[in-house]
Subunit: 364 residues, 2 copies
Amino acid sequence: MAKILVLPGDGIGQEIVPEAVKVLEKVAAKHGLDLQLQEGLIGGAAIDAVGKSLPDETLAMCRQSDAVLLGAVGGPKWDTLPAAQRPEVAALLALRKGLGLYANIRPCFLYPALVDASALKKEIVVGTDMVVIRELTGGLYFGEKFREAYTVTSLSGEEVEMGEKAVDTLVYTTPEIERILKLAFETARKRSGKVMSVDKANVLESSRLWRETAQRMAADNPDINLESMYVDNCAMQLVRDPKQFDVIVTENMFGDILTDQASMLSGSIGMLPSASVGGEVALYEPAHGSAPDIAGKGLANPLATILSVAMMLELTFNMTTAADSIRNAVERVLNAGYRTGDIMTPGAKQIGTTEMGALVREQL
Amino acid sequence: MAKILVLPGDGIGQEIVPEAVKVLEKVAAKHGLDLQLQEGLIGGAAIDAVGKSLPDETLAMCRQSDAVLLGAVGGPKWDTLPAAQRPEVAALLALRKGLGLYANIRPCFLYPALVDASALKKEIVVGTDMVVIRELTGGLYFGEKFREAYTVTSLSGEEVEMGEKAVDTLVYTTPEIERILKLAFETARKRSGKVMSVDKANVLESSRLWRETAQRMAADNPDINLESMYVDNCAMQLVRDPKQFDVIVTENMFGDILTDQASMLSGSIGMLPSASVGGEVALYEPAHGSAPDIAGKGLANPLATILSVAMMLELTFNMTTAADSIRNAVERVLNAGYRTGDIMTPGAKQIGTTEMGALVREQL
Ligand SMILES: CC(C)[C@H](C(=O)O)[C@@H](O)C(=O)O
Ligand SMILES: CC(C)[C@H](C(=O)O)[C@@H](O)C(=O)O
């Protein structure tokens, strides 16, 4: 029995999640997985219904599930709330921390049919196939933050107020670095064995601890080919020559920036699935947000969410064949020339969210 | 009389700076600028000569100059030094802080002749012309950093050591944010009036102060069209549709990452000049590093340094015509099909550092 909690959330989350759930149901039936689906409230939808973007009940339901499928949270309606109450932070960050999801896995794969949808030249981007592993519960996201009056002492000895001072803290400990690198090493073992650890060790103390820890662990794992690269160089290399990368591992904020950038290698962020793991229950969600501009119009690309279901089957239920059947179905639909707006190119057939979902299911 | 301090530094710095100096001499002679050039020690070269990568004498010479032209610092010979003594940090960061250079200006312009050298598709990248303004003396670079033992209390009440804990601090104050935004607004006034302020206000307190300050200042400057964008989205948009940007302003670490990424829009980081301003004397340098892999071979692209001289003439000496004459000379050489290795494409004529310098001077 597979207990799965479904959290559609806001905006296009309400449109893409149902398509992915129908894919899950079809694959589960075919591969003999007994599903028990529940739906929960999260994000702006939860604020509107019960006054809180991550209701305690939702968190409790997560803990009782084998896996969670999330759509997206946030939207203009809740953008005027104080930062700490907005769905992106109050729901997403609280869920990550609350469930102990310290690792975010984002595979970045370019389907050959989508080469033309990429902003990069064909010869640069064709064959891109990497996994970015982002630390998800440490660093600047969860370190102490505060704001206070900023005063300077004048020549006459008076304290003069000059506005405010805002502080964020970037903290990493050895065990936090070790566990995420361990996951990167395990991931690399199933691939080429190559790991690129990304840091800013020439400037940051936390990055120096990160790099030392990575190098010490690499010495103990001779089957892993570890290299380190500075984050600024990595941002450049991801454009210049993305195929040099296989597994990238990095801290929370660098991972946030680099995964969004890397999404462009797959044609659109609408193609990128993700898994957040390491805690009580794994969370699967598309890498994109709630896209208020196209929400409610049936235009959103459901493939990132459908591919997140594939990750769920593989990582939580160990059903590699079922997962691959989804990926192959997606590939066949793309090869047949069907595209949502975000990956549309001249000559292809533009379709909407529900058609894309239906076409993938037909191919299963 | 224009007193200019020349700091070639390490690696290709020794090759590209002499070419740029010869360009400066020719333009100065033509435009009646009376030059007084001095040379100083910096980087690994200074460590080898006097045991310190930023000798006090060099800092004093900077202060007595009207402008400083820097090549690059660092190299494998000094990579085994403790982080804080390595040239990239001990020379570059100390120079920025020591001279109060709080603003780094990096124009990112694609010469039409180099469209084929870019990793991005022609239709995405052609016409790219933006300026990134990076805060240079605040944030994670200069906040308090430390490392300490990381202990946790065991069930039996004992303190158990679990490795180390490393901390960096991200601090911004209102006046720091105001002065860099003021420069961005001034820069935008000479262009389209559009400013994109990049932050991570959904997560960082320092970014929230940044965004509030930017919005307050925009309200006081109705001729400026200010928008704010999250850094992860910006990293994606710089690949997806770079032409949407004109002036970008951001904090130190985000600026480090985004400018390296944006350098790919100009074909090569070897094309990108920079100016660091706001302090006692302005510093001009290519955006790239000392490139140990090609140093000493006569292969390096001197154009970023030559274009840094153009920025010097424009910003320090107010000689726009002279600056433009350099930019036009560079454009003519590129249009004639000459390329260093980093911007080489099939059918072009590959040349080395000194030939490129000579060709630019011929066109002046
Ligand atoms: C919405 C935001 C808080 C979040 C993050 O920064 O982690 C998002 O950008 C992501 O990458 O999941
Ligand atoms: C060398 C390094 C310390 C420096 C920085 O991070 O600022 C460099 O990357 C730059 O952008 O000038």
